[in-house]
Symmetry: C2
Subunit: 174 residues, 2 copies
């Protein structure tokens, strides 16, 4: 079992999530799966673009110009990162971001957990963390575009395909 | 036939689209369909929230709190409006907006043409106008979520359903 200490042991509503924004949300980990590893999530941790590139490399994503990646992060509404801590060294092991109009819609992009940490429940925590933040900001329409091999991952989290026949579409030059 | 005078009579590339941002892009209209009506598109025209509400009412959309609508417009990357001009009076007859990370992705929301002006080619111009602006800003991934009855409208414009099996998904609280 994996859960977020702060997020899920806190009593009451999401009202004071905002106040936690600059803090590290430590994850309670099963020692059988994680040993001595310590992991936290954050919405405000500084992202090193090279470290992010390495993380994306680790799951086989195509490289993107860092200049554009920086711009995309600056203009994302929410950037969540997950960090492994060993002594004084921290390593980014998870990442996701969302664009938003700050009012109605948010769209989640670039969800990734490092292969070394996959299938341990962290992807689920990452997504719940995103959704919880978005909901606490009163954004009700949370959307994403899922690669075919992860549709079921998102489905387990409560994401629905084509609700009421609404279809995701992509523009391609004709 | 309907086309944008500025956008489509201009020679050369999209390079100087930026320079036109504050201008009115007048649409060349077929007098058989439009009579004396004059219509322009703009990315920077001031939007009256009550007028936008009326436009959304006209196509039967649920009302939304104006406070949130204002916030959503402020945090949209691109807001396009279409205006009918009669003498000194202008009326908003079309609208669309996009959220974006300013680098890779844009998602188009709230596409609407007033029923009085539907099926005359203006929706198509509106979408092409959006796409052209987004492309000229080097944003290559243009997405949207289409209601079932307008999937074919978007398909004609080059939007594709589930390319390579990528699926649009919506989160709903379980
Ligand atoms: C997709 C990804 C983020 C999942 O993270 P993860 O930490 O491995 O997932 P979790 O361990 O939290 O899995 C949560 C649940 O989803 C299931 N699951 C995980 N990956 C799945 C997949 N690809 N398909 C279906 N179910 C999946 C798990 O079995 C688990 O089920 P349970 O709740 O019944 O135990 C991770 O595999 C990844 O980074 N993949 C590569 C990048 C990628 O494809 N990202 C998505 C792009 S749209
Ligand atoms: C959808 C909408 C924006 C289309 O605007 P429009 O000005 O009527 O569309 P156009 O006249 O430019 O149509 C362009 C082409 O699409 C076709 N088309 C228009 N509406 C269509 C629809 N609902 N389904 C399929 N094709 C459609 C037209 O026949 C035309 O085809 P052609 O190029 O072969 O002549 C408009 O009908 C509208 O505002 N609808 C209500 C709001 C809505 O549903 N918005 C979309 C939410 S996702």
């Amino acid at each position: 079992m994996v859960w977020l200490q702060k997020l899920f042991t806190k009593t009451g509503s999401d009202d004071n999530l905002e106040a936690n924004n600059y803090e590290r949300d430590w994850v309670s980990l099963d020692p059988e799966k994680f040993g001595n590893t310590k992991i936290y999530f954050s919405t405000h941790e500084q992202i090193d673009l090279y470290e992010l590139e390495e993380l994306c490399d680790s799951v086989g994503w195509a490289r993107r110009p860092l200049r554009k990646v920086r711009k995309a992060l600056e203009h994302s509404y929410l950037v969540v990162s997950a960090w492994e801590v060993k002594g004084t060294k921290k390593t980014m092991i998870g990442f996701a971001r969302a664009t938003s109009d700050h009012a109605f819609n948010a769209t989640i992009w670039d969800v990734v957990i490092h292969p070394r940490f996959q299938n341990k429940g962290l992807g689920k925590v990452l997504m719940k963390y995103m959704i919880r933040k978005l909901r606490s900001d009163d954004i009700s329409n949370v959307t994403l575009f899922a690669d075919p091999q992860v549709v079921d991952f998102y489905r387990r989290l409560g994401f629905i395909l084509d609700p009421e026949g609404i279809k995701g579409m992509f523009w391609y030059p004709d």
